[in-house]
């Protein structure tokens, strides 16, 4: 794929150019997040940033908002190099960012939020009259029916977004960065947002727009920059065909680093037994009508964009969160909802997405962590068989080749890959038949990844089943026997190992499921805020 040729020469400068990034690099410990990104923004245009999860979009916009500093390359505003070392710098340069998680204080009024930290003052006291009047002007410009004195807590998600936009306008932003602003809006609200964005564009504001909804690109955008693996691979007009955009996003070959050993399932034998069967699982606002099964000896991949509802589904299956309707069965036996212990006893194990926040007791030792799931089983008359627990921990940590100073080492001080082995290890000790792995290799090095893949092979070879969520497409494709793709809280499609290509998965992941979407988004809007 000769995508490099599409990149425009850097030297061309337009008089209307607001912002330019040249060869920007950013590394985090162990990860290269951005590896030479070029990007530019003109007055009065909507420039779409497109890329898979982890392509570097968030890191890029955080450079512009001052949350991260680049390690290399330069950023120019109005043709002169600038340093953006914090929110103040960004504000001074006229760059405003609207993140997916809003930065609003729920218990303050709309006007107070818009002018937070910059409230108009008279004699040292906040001049509410002026503040409310100016907020009303801004809200009128955005065209939203909200009073400056309304409390933010009482607003729905669409209006929160409009308040964020009003706040950006109050800063006289010339560059407006919007991170997936439509992800939580209904179709009507999206139309309204688009009208506002077009009006801002007409006023000469430059807008950086991130979206996963390809149909929005042609509707709103002018140009598209595609990021892949931390590089800007190409820049194309917004009118580019959707198929082509998908190809540009995923355009890489799967390297043979996913050593899935697929054992041909012999019909009618143990391999065909459905261990886990989920039917019609629904939680309003999160996911709808989820049905699938996972058979012994099988790895089922659960692909989709961040926010598609994958984690929510597996947590509900495991009993960590409730669901409204549907059933979860293990070997034909129905599990009660919201009961982790029932799921565990039936043989389900969950390796959660957030290893440090949900998987480990960081300040406890390796053997304490390994023994957590089996603690109850190792208890007789209230007393824990600690020697037995320790022996078991020693055995499993050797089997998993956990690199550590000893069983008493605190897991906080282990590397990410070894921490993940400990999380998996505690479920292996419990002899879980169905292991749910949520982003099992996120943030761990290549060597440890391969060890985890080997482990998955060993598990399935011995009749266990694995349900794996991963946002790493090559990983899902390389390791899964079947791939379920989720989009907007639903299963958009199922692909066999042969038909599951990156393009096919991405096409399903960005599929707009009409009708359902409205409902799901509305519910999400009423949640939390």
């Amino acid at each position: 794929m000769s995508t490099q040729s599409a990149t425009k020469p850097l030297s061309v400068k337009s008089a209307s150019e607001l912002l330019r990034m040249e060869g920007v690099r950013k590394t985090f410990p162990g990860v290269v997040a951005l590896d030479g990104v070029d990007f530019d923004l003109r007055r009065g245009e909507v420039h779409v940033l497109l890329g898979e999860n982890g392509a570097g979009k968030s890191t890029l916009i955080k450079m512009l908002s001052g949350a991260h500093r680049p390690d290399g390359g330069r950023i120019l505003v109005d043709g002169s190099p600038v340093r953006i070392h914090g929110a103040q710098d960004a504000e001074r340069l006229g760059i405003a960012t609207i993140y997916q998680e809003f930065n609003l204080v729920p218990d303050l009024s709309v006007a107070e939020n818009i002018f937070l930290g910059r409230q108009p003052r008279r004699l040292g006291l906040i001049d509410r009259k002026t503040m409310n009047a100016r907020a009303a002007e801004l809200l009128a410009r955005v065209g939203v029916d909200v009073s400056p004195t309304d409390r933010v807590r009482e607003l729905g998600i669409a209006r929160l977004q409009m308040v964020e936009i009003a706040k950006a306008l109050s800063l006289d932003a010339r560059v407006l960065i919007m991170d997936e602003p439509t992800a939580v809006l209904t179709t009507e609200e999206v139309d309204k947002l688009f009208r506002i964005v077009r009006a801002l564009r007409a006023d000469g504001v430059g807008i950086v727009f991130i979206t996963h909804h390809l149909e929005e690109i042609a509707a709103l955008g002018d140009r598209v920059t595609v990021l892949r693996d931390g590089r800007s691979v190409t820049q194309v007009p917004a009118a580019t065909e959707q198929d082509e955009l998908v190809r540009l996003m995923v355009g890489r070959s799967i390297e043979q680093q996913y050593p899935r050993e697929r054992t041909a399932p012999a019909a009618g034998t143990a391999a065909a037994v459905p261990l886990l069967k989920v039917e019609g699982l629904t939680r309003r606002g999160s996911f709808q009508d989820i049905s699938f099964e996972v058979r012994a000896g099988e790895v089922v991949g659960l692909a989709g964009l961040v926010g598609a509802g994958r984690t929510e589904v597996v947590r509900a299956v495991f009993g960590a969160d409730p669901y409204d309707s549907g059933t979860v069965r293990v070997l034909g036996k129905r599990l009660p909802g919201r009961d982790v212990n029932a799921a565990m006893d039936a043989g389900i194990g969950l390796v959660p997405e957030d290893r440090k926040g949900q998987g480990l007791v960081l300040d406890a030792s390796v053997h304490e962590n390994l023994g957590l799931v089996t603690l109850r089983r190792a208890t007789r008359a209230g007393l824990v068989d600690r020697a037995g627990q320790r022996r078991a921990a020693a055995r499993i940590s050797e089997q998993l080749a956990v690199r550590m100073a000893g069983l008493d080492q605190r897991v906080r001080t282990l590397s990410g890959g070894n921490q993940q082995k400990v999380v998996i290890g505690k479920w292996l000790l419990a002899d879980s038949k169905v292991l749910i792995l949520d982003e099992p290799t996120r943030g761990i090095d290549v060597g440890a990844k391969v060890e985890i893949y080997q482990l998955i092979n060993e598990l399935t070879a011995s009749g266990h089943a694995v349900l794996m969520i991963s946002s790493d497409l090559p990983e899902v494709l390389g390791m899964s026997d079947r791939v379920l793709v989720m989009a907007q809280g639903r299963i958009a499609g199922e692909l066999g190992a042969q038909e599951a290509t990156q393009d096919a998965v991405m096409a399903l992941a960005v599929k707009d499921i009409k009708g359902v979407t409205e409902d799901v988004k509305e519910m999400e809007g009423s949640r939390g805020h």
């Binding site: 495991f318 982790v340 926040g357 007791v361 300040d363 406890a364 957590l372 799931v373 603690l375 824990v384």
Partner: protein, 330 residues
Amino acid sequence: MATDTLKTSNAHQSPKAPGGSAVLRRVLLDNGALSALVVLVGVMSLMSGDFLTTQNLLNVGVQAAVTAILAFGVTFVIVSAGIDLSVGSVAALSATVLAWSATSQGLPVWLAVILAVGTGILCGLVSGALISFGKLPPFIATLAMLSIGRGLALVISQGSPIEIPESVARLGDTLGGWLPVPVIVMIAMGLITGAVLARTYSGRAMYAIGGNEEAARLSGIRVKRQKLVIYALSGGFAAIAGIVLASRLASAQPQAAVGYELDAIAAVVIGGASLSGGVGKASGTLIGALILAVLRNGLNLLSVSAFWQQVVIGVVIALAVLVDSLRRRA
């Protein structure tokens, strides 16, 4: 004497009993609170000739007993990242229930003791239920229980002390003419605390819940149920502390043990536990309680005014935790 009891209880906590001087040095270096206690005992011995006598050290033990027993109960709570402000009130309420049921109602003493301990456990269960099922922050739930417990003690006793039965009062005496019973109860409760923390399902669950409640829940630990157990234990320990206190005062006083919860929390924290949970040991708590008792006793012997004693104790609490946190960072 005091250091002897220390060693035995310490030996129970860790498999390595201090043997040679090298081992002893390591134990002291590893344990900031223990070193502080040793230094404090040394200083007090030098400054007052009356300090290092068997009789006085036993006095220190008696003075430490009530705080230590309360603090053992609070250790469970703090290890699980909670807090219990109600233990002083619950101690007074339990003692009042004991005296009222035995003296005023004429119930047999054994039944009165069961009722008293049951009262403490019940108070803990109520706090635990408010925290687990009502989702109240532990601070608020136990603050409410602090007020409720004290109020009930005043209601039952109508505001005046109630005499306690002869057999209970004897708990304040000595065994064999020299070993005070409160010290024995303190050591026994310390051993129980150590065993619960180190050996039982609930104890291990406390560390997991305190270290990372969500990880504990997703590992199948029934967090809500365990919180009931934790606060019930704290309440039960408070009841026993209340009975010991009443035996020393020879009556149950509804206004007794006011503010003791703060001493108990201080003892736990001085002993190396973290208020953010996941860390804490019975031996540390015992040392913490002994440090507070040695300070009070020593300052009394040195005729330091009660007002200045409060200042000194505050400084020692701050120093002990400061040194510990600096040592951990290093």
